[in-house]
């Protein structure tokens, strides 16, 4: 089990000093994923005011190993981490970067991400099938048509509906879809910046995999992102200063869907409490939460797992547009994977928005006096989670 005293001792020892998307974002049919990694990496280093030659730790995932990306960018790191557990990987890398910096393995950590889910699909190059003969899903799930996240997550959502009520769950899913769209309408980088969503449009959207409508599902876009981390001491002399990493936790309890112990609880049940305790804060201290919204249901199950509310209570938690702009719980203020961007493994974007809100850089959607934020990624088929608590001052 994690040793809390030792975790508390390194809370705040490292800070995020640079964040960025790639320049080309949304739809990039003429750009490959590696260029988006490198473009975002360059931008994040510029945001930090740190030269590429100073990067000595490299972290990546999503189809590439660190040596692929580091070679492309012309970096030869002393610390390398290609931890690959789906869309949460890039949040998990933050904990690893902090540990590596604290232990002395590196001083400047660069986490990069880039995928072209949208253009890959147009090219017919997207490998949605994930069928590797030696892996269990190829024998025990794929042959039955359980292929890809929408089907798996919709099966979990149906179990939730059975346990906690179909109608109230449906209303909650609609609330999440509509409130998230309202945030996207305030983010000019968002795919649906110019497009509002009504409740009727949600309910009328076509079925993808019942109980999921199209508007329960995240976007498929192109894009890259990157994060730069260094020691708290060194962060003071960076261009914008640091956003402190106060808590971080990770883990997973299964890989394929039918092995999930409880379809209505994710590993966030451990990472939420652990990250908050490490930071020495509670849920009510947070000014905002960024929760990976691969699907509307992912938000509901994650809010409960992280401990924001009890099992079966998230429909009440998100009721009446409580998580929309002006509501009293600021959630996914960039417009989320549902309405801002989702190139494939979205987790890193939860961190970008949390950092920007803490820095006061988000313009029209800026929260008042935002000092403490949670960013949370989920990967695989509700399989892995990574949670960080970030703070300013």
């Amino acid at each position: 089990m994690p040793v809390m005293d030792r975790l508390k001792a390194i809370s705040g020892s490292a800070a995020i000093v640079g964040v960025a998307e790639s320049d080309r974002f949304g739809r990039t049919p003429d750009r490959g994923p590696m260029e988006l990694h490198a473009e975002a990496g360059r931008n994040a280093l510029a945001d930090a005011g740190i030269d590429k030659s100073e990067v000595d730790g490299v972290f990546t995932s999503g189809g590439y190993s660190t040596y692929d990306i580091a070679e492309y960018m012309g970096i030869a790191p002393h610390f390398t981490d290609s931890t690959s557990v789906g869309g949460s990987s890039f949040v998990i890398h933050i904990a690893h970067a902090m540990a590596a910096i604290e232990a002395g393995y590196c001083e400047v950590a660069l986490i990069t991400y880039g995928q072209t889910g949208r253009s890959d699909r147009a090219r017919g190059a997207l490998n949605l099938y994930g069928v590797t003969p030696g892996l269990p899903n190829a024998q025990y799930e794929a042959p039955f048509g359980i292929i890809g996240p929408p089907i798996a997550y919709s099966m979990a959502a149906n179990r939730y509906m059975h346990q906690y009520g179909e109608d109230r769950t449906r209303e909650a899913m609609a609330n999440v879809a509509v409130s998230t769209r309202k945030w996207a309408n305030m983010n000019e980088k968002a795919h649906f910046y110019d497009t509002p969503m009504t409740f009727d449009e949600y309910h009328d959207s076509r079925w993808i995999s019942w109980p999921f409508h199209l508007l329960d599902c995240c976007l498929v876009t192109d894009g890259g992102a990157a994060v730069v981390i260094t020691s708290a001491e060194r962060a003071k002399s960076t261009r914008k200063g640091g956003v402190a990493i106060l808590g971080a936790a990770e883990g997973h309890d299964h890989a394929i869907l039918h092995q999930m112990p409880d379809l209505t609880r994710t590993w966030g049940r451990n990472t939420g409490p652990q990250a908050l305790e490490m930071a020495g804060v509670t849920h009510s201290d947070l000014d905002m939460a960024m929760i990976y919204d691969s699907f509307t249901y992912t938000v509901l199950v994650t809010l409960e797992s992280l401990g924001f509310c009890g099992p079966g209570e998230s429909p009440d938690f998100v009721a009446n547009q409580r998580t929309a702009p002006g509501g009293d719980f600021a959630l996914n203020t960039n417009g989320g994977g549902l309405s801002y961007a989702h190139p494939g493994s979205y987790g890193i974007f939860t961190v970008l928005e949390a950092v920007r809100q803490l820095r006061g850089e988000t313009g029209e959607r800026q929260l008042d006096d935002c000092k403490l934020a949670m960013a949370h990624g989920t990967g695989g088929l509700l399989s892995s989670t990574g949670t960080v608590v970030l703070g300013r001052e």
Binding site: Y129, Q139, Y140, I147, M155, R206, S209, L263
Partner: protein
Amino acid sequence: MADGYNKPIPIPQPESDYYWEGAKAGELRLRHCDDCNQAYFYPRNICPECGNNNTSWIVASGKAKVHTFAIVHRPPHPGFMDDLPYVPAIVELEEGPRMATQLINVTPEPEAISIDMQVKVVFESITDEISLPKFEPA
């Protein structure tokens, strides 16, 4: 191979060849840990509970109840285009373990299928080597 079958086909592996031989013979075979005295799925030689190799095979009754399901309207793979809408499911076997499958001989509508409904295994032959364990209302 059944004519035109273009969905993913399991390739038996060292720990699962006996399982697939059973399915072809009309038996749903489960691994059983003789130390824990419980069955588990999917087949592997080492018990995921205790980590021991003291494991054997049992033949399941084929009775189960639906743990969850979905109704797929957008194919995730070209092979399922002609099957829409179809009903992937997780069922809980009488012996305890849960497994992924597909429900057949059901009307693919939410009102026609219920979680906890009783189902039983049927084997659908897709190649000379492979039959898939699917489930239908008991």
